[in-house]
């Protein structure tokens, strides 16, 4: 039961292929003069991001900080190709993603971007191993070996057949990180990755993230946690939808 190749797959492949050919100077993921407005009914429009330029390079860890409502989640949604900008463009390997179909965006996301969430968001009915394999479930081929390797790498070799309710918070987040890496993404987007973890577990997770970035994966972590900024190569502060400090 795998999806037949369609126009979207072809478009996504061309986006990914472009990255290989254009060299290391092109960042895998970039926002160019991006503005995002939301229609909030009678109150008019709310500008969540205003003329933001942002890029993540391979192997770097960027932390994005800022008060609530400053546009951090919007920034992450745009980077994750989950939302379209009102103006400006989102570039994946130097190519604008504007005009790509929903299917092509889904494929591009699967091939290039990994997600880690504050609440882990593992499927409760699947085991750790199945959760890690989930992004590849509808693809041809068997990713079991790779999923096993990833779980071993994050220190969960003895928890592969456990369901999420049998795992601690830190273990769940490690399963989530393994899941985000199963498709060998270029960029890892993390939304408050240590938000639900104690300091010690948070540190272990950040060590893991650091190790991942050392393999060439760009990491963008939206956070309130100073611990994350300690592990970041650079920190971007968002205030009222504008980048205040880099």
């Amino acid at each position: 039961m795998t999806g037949a190749p369609d126009a979207g797959d072809a478009a996504a492949s061309s986006v990914a292929a472009a990255g290989v050919s254009t060299g290391p100077e092109v960042p895998p993921l970039r926002l160019v003069d991006v503005t995002k407005r939301y229609d909030s009914g009678r109150a008019g429009y709310v500008t969540a991001l205003s003329h933001v330029d942002f890029a993540v390079e391979p192997g770097e860890v960027v932390s994005v900080v800022g008060p609530s409502g400053s546009g951090k989640s919007t920034l992450l949604n745009l980077l994750g190709l989950l939302d379209d900008p009102t103006s400006g463009r989102v570039e994946l390997w130097g190519r604008s993603t504007a005009g790509l179909s929903a299917a092509a965006l889904t494929d591009a996301r699967r091939e290039s971007i990994g997600f880690v969430f504050q609440d882990f968001h593992l499927l409760p009915t699947l085991t750790a191993l199945e959760n890690v394999r989930l992004p590849t479930a509808f693809l041809p081929g068997d990713a079991t070996d790779r999923a096993r390797d990833l779980l071993e790498r994050v220190g969960l070799a003895d928890r592969m057949d456990h369901t999420p309710d049998e795992l601690s918070g830190g273990q769940k987040q490690r399963v989530a990180i393994a899941r985000s890496l199963v498709n060998e993404p270029a960029v890892l987007l993390a939304d408050e990755p240590t938000g639900n973890l104690d300091r010690e577990t948070g540190t272990q997770i950040l060590e893991e993230v650091r190790a991942i970035s050392d393999t060439g994966v760009g990491v963008v972590a939206v956070t309130h946690d100073d611990l994350v900024t300690d592990y970041a190569d650079r920190t971007v502060e968002l205030v009222d939808g504008v980048i205040r400090r880099e």
């Binding site: 039961m1 999806g3 994750g80 989950l82 929903a102 299917a103 889904t106 494929d107 996301r109 699967r110 091939e111 997600f115 969430f117 609440d119 968001h121 499927l123 409760p124 009915t125 699947l126 199945e130 394999r133 989930l134 992004p135 479930a137 509808f138 068997d142 899941r179 985000s180 498709n183």
Partner: protein, 325 residues
């Protein structure tokens, strides 16, 4: 997680999460299918029973002299005409009919007296005891035999003439314009008249009966209303239409319960989707296509129906008949 059918695996895991809810939704389908099967069978059974009961009626055409003709009997020319019309479509049996006192050692009663040489055609009812040709003696209807206490070999007196009983007619359960149960059948020659009171055509099928009825009307009533033709085929058609309607009505009622069950599956799926919005969002974020998510949900809904339907279907016939599912 199976690699070949990920949608099926995800769907079964999701259903197993809310077992009671899934079981109740499937139970709705069980009840709906059960209702359709049992009410459908009930309607069919009623129709079949009624057709069996009235079956003989539909194939009979009774031709009798019309009041307008002024005659109380049909002559041999009429009989020949009827025989020509009915040729190949059924059997023609001329009857002489009168009413008479019948006596025997056990008492006396008033009975219909039919005169025919071929009682087997009309009254045999598939029984071997009734002779195909009737030359002498009397055949006695089941009720008359019971009233008078006679059996084969007894003697009965019909209007001062004594006859030996050569057979007792089997009891007739179906409705018929002739009433052999309360009749005595004598050879046609025992009647003084030469004409016939009635000619009964036992057609091979309702269609033949219809054709014979209209053919006889055409031939014998073309210039003058000589005969009246009595056929219940059209009434039988109406009755059969009524049972079709009844069947449709019963199925419609059963269908409503099936629709309600379908709506309950829809409701379960709607609740399930709204509870799992976050999960579906994660599936989409990790690169699972919209149509793949939709496929998983459709497999879930189909499983609920597929589990329910055969159980309802098997349960239905087992309760209402011995048919295997």
């Amino acid at each position: 997680m199976s690699d070949r059918f990920p949608a099926l695996t995800l769907a079964t895991r999701n259903l197993s999460r809310q077992r009671v809810r899934a079981a109740l939704a499937a139970l709705g389908i069980v009840i709906g299918v059960f209702a359709v099967v049992t009410l459908g069978l009930l309607g069919n059974a009623l129709g079949v029973a009624a057709t069996e009961e009235l079956g003989g009626l539909g194939n009979q055409v009774i031709v009798s002299p019309s009041e307008a003709s002024g005659s109380d009997s049909l002559d041999s020319r009429d009989l020949a005409a009827i025989q020509r019309v009915a040729s190949g479509r059924g059997t023609v049996v001329p009857l002489r009919v009168t009413g008479a006192q019948v006596r025997a050692s056990g008492g006396q009663t008033f009975a219909q007296v039919y005169g025919t040489d071929r009682p087997g055609e009309l009254f045999g009812n598939g029984s071997d005891g009734i002779p195909a040709f009737h030359r002498q003696g009397a055949l006695v209807g089941a009720d008359v035999a019971a009233d008078l206490g006679v059996r084969e070999g007894s003697t009965v007196t019909v209007e001062e003439n004594e006859y030996r009983v050569v057979g007792v007619l089997p009891e007739v359960s179906s409705i018929s314009p002739l009433q052999p149960d309360s009749a005595v059948i004598l050879p046609a020659d025992e009647f003084a008249t030469s004409g016939y009171s009635q000619v009964v055509v036992r057609a091979n099928s309702p269609d033949d009966a219809r054709a014979v009825a209209s053919g006889v009307e055409e031939r014998l009533n073309a210039r003058q209303q000589r005969v009246s033709v009595f056929s219940l085929t059209s009434i039988l058609d109406r009755i059969s239409e009524f049972f079709d309607l009844l069947n449709g009505f019963l199925l419609a009622i059963a269908g409503i319960s099936l629709v309600v069950a379908g709506v309950s599956i829809f409701n379960v799926m709607l609740m399930s989707v709204s509870e799992r919005r976050g999960e579906i969002g994660v599936l989409r974020a990790v690169g699972i296509h919209r149509r793949q998510v939709l496929r998983t949900l459709l497999v879930e809904a189909t499983l609920l129906g597929v589990v329910g339907a055969p159980s309802g279907r098997c349960w239905g016939p087992r309760r209402s008949s011995s048919r295997r599912c």
